[in-house]
């Protein structure tokens, strides 16, 4: 009988995806394109927020394309096209998340150098996408007021992997029992450096601060590229 041996490994799960994500991040940095990953439950307002954000950024001279990963239908890609936004529809075949390989495939259909930002509308759920690095420079989650404020406890991993939380549909706040302070406290308990915005894409409330944050990410990538060219 052969002896049982223990082999030390210490390797992160999904390290292959993480490696590809890192390469994508670097490649896009070199072409000066900011990659933003937007995640939420279905209907929390990803498409609406992206359209409104792209529209406002366009006024600042920022060119954006979108990778549509939501599986419901091609409705979102059509909405983007109708608004004059270049969109690539991913066929995820019922997958519950996007991974770096899917983003790499979508990038083949875009000339990254043509865009200052590429936004990913991830598959609508707050569990699975948290596990998979898409190569984004920044990750954002949306939580809409009608969903309730107690979500941090239900989706803890998501709160730890994002850079920013957008509380969306704040026009529903008046008269609701949504406790913004409790959500902020719970979210920052999981992620002390989390940036939080309260936004209504419908009324435009809070859009400015959110758009500034996105523009700051775009500038960060552009500066990093120019810095790299200098040396």
């Amino acid at each position: 009988m052969a002896e049982i041996r223990t082999i030390d490994i210490k390797e992160a799960v999904l390290s292959e995806n993480a490696g590809l994500a890192d390469r994508l991040r670097r490649r896009l940095m070199e072409s000066g394109t900011f990659l933003l990953d937007v995640m939420s439950s279905p209907g929390a307002g990803k498409t609406t927020l992206l359209l409104e954000t792209i529209h406002r950024l366009r006024e600042r001279g920022i060119r954006t394309a979108v990778i549509e990963g939501d599986i419901e239908s091609t409705v979102d890609a059509e909405k983007m096209a109708a608004a004059g936004v270049k969109a690539v529809q991913l066929r995820t075949g019922g997958a519950c998340h996007l991974d770096a390989a899917m983003i790499e495939a979508a990038l083949h259909e875009l000339a990254p150098g043509d865009y200052d930002m590429i936004a990913i509308e991830n598959v609508g759920n707050l569990v699975c996408p948290a596990e998979f690095d898409t190569g984004a420079h920044r990750r954002t989650m949306l939580l809409s007021v009608p969903e309730g404020h107690d979500k941090a406890l239900k989706y803890p991993l998501m709160f730890t992997v994002v850079d920013c939380l957008v509380v969306s549909k704040t026009d529903y706040l008046p008269g609701s029992d949504f406790d913004l302070a409790a959500l902020r406290a719970e979210a920052r308990r999981l992620n002390p450096t989390l940036t939080v915005f309260e936004v209504s894409a419908r009324t435009g409330d809070g859009m400015q601060g959110w758009c500034d944050w996105v523009a700051d990410g775009i500038r960060g990538v552009a500066d990093a590229r120019d810095g790299a060219l200098d040396c």
């Binding site: 002896e3 082999i7 490994i9 210490k10 519950c96 998340h97 569990v127």
Partner: protein
């Protein structure tokens, strides 16, 4: 079903290391899982059984070791569990610094394998 790619990754890594070590069978896989991952141990084992079917890891046991959420203070280095922080911000209980980061609790790491 994001559990499936995760399990495929775990089994892929285990089998690769087993082959490199010249082993013929994998008996156990030890995985460290942060509590914030919210992975269901029972589900994970059945996915594991499914993914390992017909491989040298068939019948192996998947041993999950949960790691608790811990913050580290970037000012003084102390680690501490997330407590009820009524004020909102997480602060170091030793030096009150707000420069804290998550030190553990969200990892998913293949620690080791037992092989013959």
């Amino acid at each position: 079903m994001h559990e499936l790619p995760i399990l495929r990754s775990i089994v892929g890594v285990a089998l690769r290391h087993a082959v490199e070590a010249g082993a013929s069978r994998v008996l156990a896989v030890d995985v460290k899982v942060g509590e914030l991952r919210g992975l269901d141990a029972a589900w994970i084992q059945s996915y594991f059984d499914f993914v390992t079917e017909g491989t040298p890891a068939a019948g192996a046991s998947l041993r999950l070791k949960e790691s608790k959420a811990l913050f580290r203070c970037r000012s003084c280095g102390a680690t501490f569990p997330p407590g009820p922080h009524a004020g909102g911000d997480v602060a170091c209980p030793h030096c009150s610094s707000k420069h804290v980061e998550l030190a553990s609790g969200n990892e998913l790491l293949i620690e080791s394998i037992d092989v013959v």
